[in-house]
Amino acid sequence: MKGDLTVEDSLRENRLFLNRIIASVSLMLLGVLVLVIRLIYLQIEGHQQYSSLSRENQVKISPITPTRGMILDRNGEPLADNYVTYSLEVVPEGIQDLKPLLEAISRLIHLTEAELQSFRDLMAKRKPFESVPVRLELSEEDLAKVAVKLPWLNGAEIRTRMMRRYPYRDLTAHVVGYIARINEKELSHLDPSEYLGTFFTGKNGLEKSYETVLHGRTGHQEYEANVKGRVVRELGKKPALDGANLYLSIDIGLQKVAMDALGDYRGAVVAIDPQTGDVLALASKPSYDPNPFIQGIDKKSYEALQGDEARPLYDRATRGAYPPGSTVKPFEALAGLELLGLPPLGRIACPGYYRLPGSKHKYRDWAHSGHGATDMHRAIVQSCDVYFYELASRLGIRRLHDFMQSRFGLGVPTGIDIAGEKGGLYPSEEWKKSRKRGDWSPGDTVIAGIGQGFVTATPIQMARATAILAHQGLDVEPRLVSRIRAGYDIEPPFPKNPNADRRLIEPGQWETVVSAMVDVIQKGTAHRIAAGLDYSIAGKTGTAQVFTVAQNQSYKSMRLTQSMRDHAWFIAFAPADNPKIAVAVIAENAGHGGTVAAPMARKVMDHYLHGLPHEN
């Protein structure tokens, strides 16, 4: 065929081929252009984004867990501390089948089905290279058994962990609270970077309210890890900052006295230093041992605690809202003195009952025959109900509500530094309209006058109100934690109000009320505790009705079950002329305040005041 080609044909073919080569080169150049544009896009435009992705790939962070701060009483006695435990853990890396290992471990220290189940659960959730505990707390015997055999238990290791403990158990359970494993709900609002290596968080009490400072700051170790997570080299380290130690104003000795004073009654004792607001004792009974909660209490024990009618898990001191009964009377007297002038009522005749003008309804006095001619002093000393029915009616609920709330904090939480405080209630017309869908009636005011009806208050509220009274109207902010000790700057979670010392009531009328309260002990409703007193107490009893007695019946004729019996209240401060302690006591269904609650308060005050260094 070659012979047939003419020169012209040959030239044409050459041209055609050259054209194709030019087209090919153009295509190649286009391809190179695409590659270069893409490379510029990735390496210049996307450089920053890909660099950070690359860093994320390479740098792994492992947390350094801080040691949780201790909680100590005012003398440095630990109420919550940490101890070292030895746990048996498995690092499953490189072990195909864990069964033989678990069986070998179980032959040494018997593993329960529950332990195996929890191990399997944790295995499923663990991160690569994380060890999984088989048993968190090895007994000394088990520790020895496992330690000897450890070289043959490939993949198992003994680690030390810090564990929490509450040496005073039920004595401080409601104050200190407890920590337990973080649950799903808490996980969502805890700072994930702070809790990387922490398994526990405060669930209750101070452990919860001071969680941020107790926990400390998690440090971290930065290291380069390969795709399988194995450490290649360490890049940097930021040590953990251990949690702050909390020094409480509580004295464990006084706390024990308060708990013991309650005896077998359900109830609460709160003691405050009126000068500082320091809470000296915060007792609630019955109580419980918080230690089993840390590792997760077993279901049966928990149900027993939950189902107990005495409700041991319930902190009565800060959450129990009770009708305060006659303990409100001194505060009400001050309202009368301030709002109606001196004397607000003068002397009234007490026939044993009170009637609103134009009404047949009788509001009984606790003394059926009445108190006779009664002035304010006598009304407080004898706890005359009629006098305070009358005073409340004169003041009206609006003025009473405003005064009680703004001056003595009734109906609002005290702001004590503990989780879950309840605020009680001091009712108002607006409150009844919105919450009860009813109009306020004059009768509501009458019974509010003796701390019944809608009125409720917690023991801590009554203690604070008493402290304000003792402090001659200066505000008192109750605090359990008096000092926070940390090796670094921290933000205290419950800062004191800078206006704390503002005077809530103008001084002037105190003498009337305080002298009446002193006479409550000397010759009034709490005269039983006067014997052998070497200091003066100003107090007020309260016997709060749990059950409303019908119009035509008397309290005594009712066959009352235990749970319908009156709550016994007593509030007091001492010494009356230089108050160092203010106390509020409630004993549920215990009957008369003067008989039951007042002696409890005296024990607390005795212990505290006799323990103080004598002033010259």
Partner: protein, 377 residues
């Protein structure tokens, strides 16, 4: 005899300095380009292999062997190559059939033929025999080719391509197919027919989609949205893009690529070695590598244009174009604009067989170059 010393000096210059080299059928500029690229490859491979001198030495040894093969091929006269083409083609096709019947399965695909002492991948042979056959076939007619010739050529291409795709080895099938197609393109197929084929190809895409294996479809889908499955099927592309992007303009420095050394980048010594270069040497390194390829391609194109007969032109042109396709498909895959198909970066990726085949191809180009200008008989 008295001769002017200047003339004598000129005479001396004409004489080749290295007699031995001048006796070998070697094109010095092309060899220089290949050695430059191989040098770059060794440097990158040392890093990509986790600083394994062993790997680099083994690759060097393979390169030596491949260079010997290249010289051996270059010794064969293009005329002889043309004569061998149909036989080689038939042998290649037969072996592909054999592979499907009795081949060894490795990594889920049937690619190897066990010849007793030596395992052989017939698809490597077809990478050369297919363009040779097509060049032989098209060289017999005056361009532009008639439609029935094109039909015949298409059949010649499809036979090995389908057999390889069946193994399945999509990457090699694409390379073999494009080497044949390059011959048809160079032989002067009219652009009208080309446009028609393009429309036809686009129309048959859905059918092609049906023929793909599940994992092959995944790879194409992943290209469109790798973030959909970052730890699964999109992992290769994402980690590769991170490596390249984090390299920036000047790179993290040799042996300092974290993506590579912490093993986030998969197949860093083989198919994804370009990402290693991009991470450690940055955009500058990438452009440098492209320049090295450009030197080789430029010399190849020179040889193509210099070629005197049709067979030589077609074959040299097809091999040059296919070499570019290798580079483009691999880089396109690594930078995430083409689906992940198992195509190594020519002369840079770690691996023996592919290097030998590639250098045998360059041997053909050298044969075409040197036999026109020198006499070896």
């Amino acid at each position: 005899m008295k001769i002017d010393p200047i003339l004598e000096a000129l005479e001396d210059q004409k004489k080749p300095r290295f007699r031995f080299l001048s006796q070998l059928p070697i094109d010095i500029p092309l060899l220089g380009g290949l050695l430059l690229l191989s040098g770059i490859a060794m440097v990158v491979l040392y890093s990509a292999s986790g600083q394994s001198l062993d790997v680099v030495l083994r690759q060097g040894l393979r390169l030596m062997l491949a260079l010997l093969v290249m010289v051996g091929v270059a010794m064969i006269h293009p005329r002889q190559l043309a004569n061998m083409s149909p036989i080689l083609y038939l042998v290649g096709a037969l072996m592909l059939v054999l592979v499907l019947l009795v081949g060894k399965i490795s990594m889920g695909a049937q690619r190897w033929l066990d010849l007793g002492i030596l395992r052989f991948q017939p698809s490597e042979l077809t990478k050369l025999s297919t363009p040779m056959m097509l060049a032989w076939f098209m060289a017999r007619y005056t361009p532009p080719p008639a439609l029935k010739r094109l039909f015949g050529a298409a059949l010649l291409i499809l036979l090995p391509v389908l057999l390889i795709a069946k193994q399945p080895d999509l990457g090699t099938a694409i390379l073999v197919g494009s080497s044949g197609a390059a011959v048809i393109f160079l032989s002067g197929i009219s652009f009208k027919i080309l446009a028609g084929l393009f429309v036809l190809g686009a129309g048959s895409l859905p059918l092609f989609w049906q023929l793909l294996h599940g994992y092959q479809r995944d790879r194409i889908l992943m290209l469109l949205n790798p973030e959909a499955d970052p730890l699964g099927r999109g992992y290769h592309i994402i980690q590769s893009k991170i490596a390249i992007g984090s390299g920036g303009v000047s790179g993290k420095g040799w042996l300092h690529g974290t993506q590579v050394h912490l093993e986030f980048l998969p197949e860093s010594s083989t198919d994804f070695i370009f990402a290693v270069l991009a991470e450690e040497f940055g955009l500058i390194g990438c452009l440098g590598l492209l320049a090295a390829y450009a030197i080789i391609l430029a010399r190849c194109l020179y040889i193509v244009v210099q070629a005197k007969d049709r067979y030589s032109r077609y074959l040299a042109g097809a091999l040059t174009l296919t070499f570019f396709v290798y580079v483009f498909v691999n880089m396109g895959m690594v930078i995430g604009i083409l689906p992940v198909v198992g195509v190594p970066l020519p002369l840079v990726s770690y691996g023996g067989t592919a290097t030998v085949t590639l250098l045998a191809g360059f041997g053909i180009l050298m044969s075409i170059q040197v036999h026109q200008n020198r006499q070896f008989e």
